[in-house]
């Protein structure tokens, strides 16, 4: 019995197989755990520990370093407003204050209906369309208070579901290519390349 649903468990195993060492799958698996529960639950982290060959404490210790991992429940939509330098100069702070009143929750908290969590973010690398707003890490490009209100209305009525999945779902494109060339083939090619390199070096010396 595993805690993850079968499809998530399967994808998690695929991810682990991509890396030379299991622990490398830590961050992508934590993203999958968030997709499963919306945030990181103790059960989810325990499963990540099992999959990566680490302990639940190591998983929690790693997850707590990163801003995108939530150890407490968050809203269906995590709204991030940037107030860093480029956005500050374009009214980012005012946008953040406005978002707090529209969403009905203070910065860093979740609205009573569990729909929205508001975050003040650092630079999101979209500085030419400032102030920058992200919902569930998707750029929504609402730079005016009115546009933000319209977006929130859309989200409340499920009109943007296609484009903005619930919090936790990050990468919807599945890897379809062969995982990697067979190990013996890679070793063989590497040996051939190595020999060729040495032969060329020897020839150049002559």
């Amino acid at each position: 019995m595993t805690y993850f649903r079968q499809d998530i468990r399967l994808r998690a195993q695929e991810v682990v197989a991509l890396y030379p060492q299991k622990r490398s799958a830590m961050l992508p698996l934590l993203h999958l755990a968030q997709e499963h529960d919306g945030y990181l639950t103790p059960e989810g982290m325990a499963e990540v520990a099992e999959l990566t060959g680490t302990s639940p404490a190591e998983v929690r210790g790693t997850a707590s370093f990163y801003d995108m991992f939530h150890l407490e429940p968050v809203g269906t939509y995590v709204v991030g407003v940037c107030t860093n330098i480029a956005c500050l100069l374009a009214g980012g702070q005012e946008m953040l204050d406005h978002a707090a009143s529209t969403l009905g929750c203070a910065v860093g908290s979740t609205s009573a209906d569990g729909m929205f969590t508001l975050e003040e973010t650092e630079c999101l690398a979209d500085c030419n369309i400032a102030p920058c707003v992200q919902v569930n890490h998707r750029f929504v490009r609402t730079t005016t208070p009115d546009a933000l209100d319209a977006l929130v209305d859309d989200l409340r009525n499920g009109r943007r579901d296609e484009e903005i999945p619930a919090h936790g779902t990050l990468i919807r494109v599945r890897r379809s290519g062969g995982l990697r060339a067979p190990a013996d083939q890679v070793a063989n090619e590497r040996a051939v390349a190595h020999r060729a390199r040495e032969e060329r070096a020897a020839q150049e010396k002559k």
Binding site: L27, L88, E122
Partner: protein, 434 residues
Amino acid sequence: MAVFTAPKIVSSRSEFADSHTLTRFLATGGFEGLRRALTMYPEAVAAEVDTASLLGRGGAGFPAGRKWSMLRKAPVSYLVINGDESEPATFKDHYLVEREPHQLIEGVTIAAYALQVTQAFIFLRGEFALGLERVQQAINDAYEQGALGSNIFGSGFSLDIVVHPGAGAYICGEETSLIEALEGKRGFPRIKPPFFPAAIGLYGQPTVVNNVETMANLPWIVSHGGAAFAALGLGRSTGTRLFALSGRVNNPGMFELEMAKNTFRDIIFDPALGGGIINNGQVKAFIPGGVSAPWLGPDDLDTPLGQDEVGAKATMLGSGSIVVMDQTTCAVRAAWRITKFFSRESCGQCTPCREGSGWLERIMFRLEHGGGRMEDLDLLMDLCDNIAPGLGWPPQQTTICVLGSSIPSSITSAINMFRDEFYAHVTHDGCPHD
């Protein structure tokens, strides 16, 4: 007048709305560079990049060819692409992964071939949800085209590329911190010297870490030759570069320009570029290359956008991102917000950075919001001097990585350029602009 004679090297498909699709990529010369590279000896490909004297586009500006030549010879080695673009006001890699993902995959494959590496990782910022999807799609497409996987285009060369999502940490843009995150750990930078990633990197194996934009240049360099690339630009600054312009300008955006041929005045005021200051205002100050760089003033507007030219002004071109402040901008508030960023993003390993950034942020906060004192200016300078002794440029380092020594840049710039504003904040007991 701005110079626009150079070809677009990394953003050539920017005019197409479907620039992220395989169809558009193939219709516009996709995989031509890779096909050509595969007919050459790997060393010859590396030599072309050396001839191009392509400087790394991540921020440090280290020659990519030289970084490659430092790779220790070993049976297993890795290529890691740094797409953790988090330097405030930088958004070029965001464009490249979202709009031209196939070009990135082609560039990575060329680099892997030159280095004879069979496993590459692209570490992308977790906040780029769409970018992550587009790059994964591009990898899927490349597999289908035979441009990735085993025996690429029948050449006998095999490569696998894995997209690795980050999870929100500025520090992971530092290459050893990125490697730690890729190994599934907290993003703590490693101590170096003596061992740089080229000797001991991912899983203790030799590793090359290159920026996304650096990779995006490779298809063009291989197709057109390193000499054609080196013919563009001036001096050590060869080729073109993506400049990200933001702040108080009419037309903020990303522009690919020939290196060192245009000045800050050109990019800020040219109608085809920045289009001047909002409401016909004046430039008060500008940040030339990401918030780690010391600021420049109106007198420096005629400095060319080149590595050495900006370096001569005791600051840096860094990640190529320019933030413009006008007379409506409060210098104290701007410096406070940048300091708050560093305080939040310090990984906490080294005392000068962890404690220093917090102290500086609290002092800047009280100056901006009330409660500041005249002696705070000396205190700020003293604390900055503790983090980066001497306050010179390039800064002295007291910490494992350069995040620490980047903290003082904005505060010392603001104090040196706008000391009167700090006094006004003290006498007004808060920001006089509010």
